[in-house]
């Protein structure tokens, strides 16, 4: 489903996409379109894109095409979701220990929409760190 979502092809485009968005959360998926994990994630993203178009916008970035952020954002997972609001990185306490990003593929659309909504509400209030509605630590998964 990656062909239905907008791609960004260089660092400048990523920067401008985040800068130009005034009052919506920018969701960026870093990964490869051919990666199975990313394919799952892109499916979820496409499904929820229409539903959260009022408060979120989704972009895809190929980390091989745009390697500028790999080092600084520690992008070594097959699929990474990061949230930005008004040129500011928004962290989510997912219970996984890594508050910076979602680095697994989410299959549940509603779960993802809930997370993005929490991010949006927190970021609007000026928070840099929001708490995810669901705890994704391993003790609940297994």
């Amino acid at each position: 489903m990656s062909y239905m979502l907008q791609h960004l092809h260089n660092g400048w485009q990523v920067d401008q996409a985040i800068l130009s968005e005034e009052d919506r959360v920018v969701i960026i998926r870093f990964g490869h379109d051919w990666d199975p994990t990313c394919m799952v994630m892109d499916e979820t993203l496409y499904k929820c894109a229409e539903k959260m178009k009022n408060f979120a916008v989704i972009f895809l970035v190929d980390i091989s095409e745009v390697p500028d952020f790999n080092k600084m954002y520690e992008l070594y997972d097959p699929c990474t979701i990061m949230f930005f609001y008004r040129n500011k990185h928004i962290m989510i306490d997912l219970g996984t220990g890594n508050n910076n990003k979602i680095n697994w593929a989410m299959e549940d659309v509603q779960e993802f929409i809930d997370i993005v909504e929490t991010v949006f509400r927190g970021a609007r209030k000026g928070r840099g760190l929001v708490i995810s509605p669901k705890d994704y630590s391993t003790k609940y998964r297994y």
Binding site: G11, W12, D15, K71, M72
Partner: protein
């Protein structure tokens, strides 16, 4: 209560001290300066010929008539050396003024030196192409290979003999080679010279073997210096991580944080509960940092 000599000298200079006590401190100061000069002279002297004996040992020599006819013959090989005290300064070139002011140094070998030299030559006679040359600078003999133009302070077949090219030539080569090389060379020989002179001043016995032993000591100390210096350059400090792991050996700045070369965008110094609250910089800042790093 006796005044310290420095204070006494100062007071005498200002006329605050009576003339009777004045003479003593001034004498002391006047004595101290030549002593200092002498010490400096020794250091600088060893720049040229590290193997040479201390002039303090030889200088108070009595003028003796030379018994050996061969020494008399070699008088024409004697170099004319001005008795300029700056001769041991490697950056000083003697001019005509030095010659006029200080005169020509006289060759006055001490009898102990002659005796030891005779003994050494009896044990280790000179090979045919070697010639004995008196050195007025040190009041000693050195040995010169007329074919290869090498010199030695000992007979070349002596086990402790160091056969090298002459210090003058070495100096000329080093001077052409570059300033820093000369510096390092002078450092080495300074250190070594100090050790040699130390050993000599401590051993005031006039045994015949002292002549040889002194040279042996000088050589050993130089070799030790050499090996010590080499180790400093090559061997790794056991506490250096490079000595027990496979990381490369770094210089002074290895491992320091450089701007734009960050491993990660987050604050890497944060730890504990702060660790999970480190936001990444915005993409614009990342791009700027990347550009700045290159």
């Amino acid at each position: 209560m006796p005044l310290p000599p420095a204070l006494a000298a100062r007071l005498a200079k200002r006329g605050l001290l009576p003339a009777g006590s004045e003479s003593k401190p001034t004498q002391a100061t006047s004595l101290s300066t030549p002593a200092n000069e002498e010490v400096e002279e020794v250091f600088a002297e060893d720049y040229d010929e590290p193997m040479k004996a201390d002039p303090d040992v030889i200088e108070p020599s009595t003028e003796i008539p030379r018994e050996e006819p061969e020494a008399e013959e070699e008088d024409d090989t004697l170099r004319e050396v001005p008795a300029c005290p700056n001769r041991w300064n490697p950056y000083h070139d003697c001019t005509d003024y030095c010659r006029q002011r200080w005169g020509i140094k006289t060759w006055n070998p001490s009898d102990t030196m002659i005796r030891k030299r005779d003994r050494m030559l009896r044990k280790y006679p000179l090979p045919p192409e070697w010639q004995e040359i008196p050195d007025p600078e040190t009041d000693r003999y050195y040995y010169w290979n007329t074919q290869t133009d090498q010199v030695s302070w000992l007979s070349p077949i002596h086990p402790n003999a160091v056969v090298t090219i002459s210090a003058e030539k070495l100096q000329a080569v080093l001077r052409n080679d570059g300033y820093d090389k000369v510096e390092s060379e002078s450092d080495d020989s300074d250190e070594e010279g100090m050790e040699v002179s130390d050993s000599e001043s401590s051993s005031s016995s006039s045994s015949d073997d002292e002549y040889d032993r002194r040279h042996e000591k000088g050589r050993i100390s130089r070799e030790r210096n050499k090996s010590r210096g080499g180790r400093q350059r090559d061997e790794i400090d056991p506490m250096d991580p490079a000595s027990y792991s496979d990381i490369p050996r770094g210089g002074w700045s290895a491992g320091l944080e450089r701007s734009g070369d960050a491993k990660t965008g987050v604050d890497s110094t944060a730890s504990g509960p702060l660790f999970q609250q480190r936001p990444y910089p915005s993409p614009g800042a990342v791009l700027r940092a990347n550009r700045g790093g290159k």
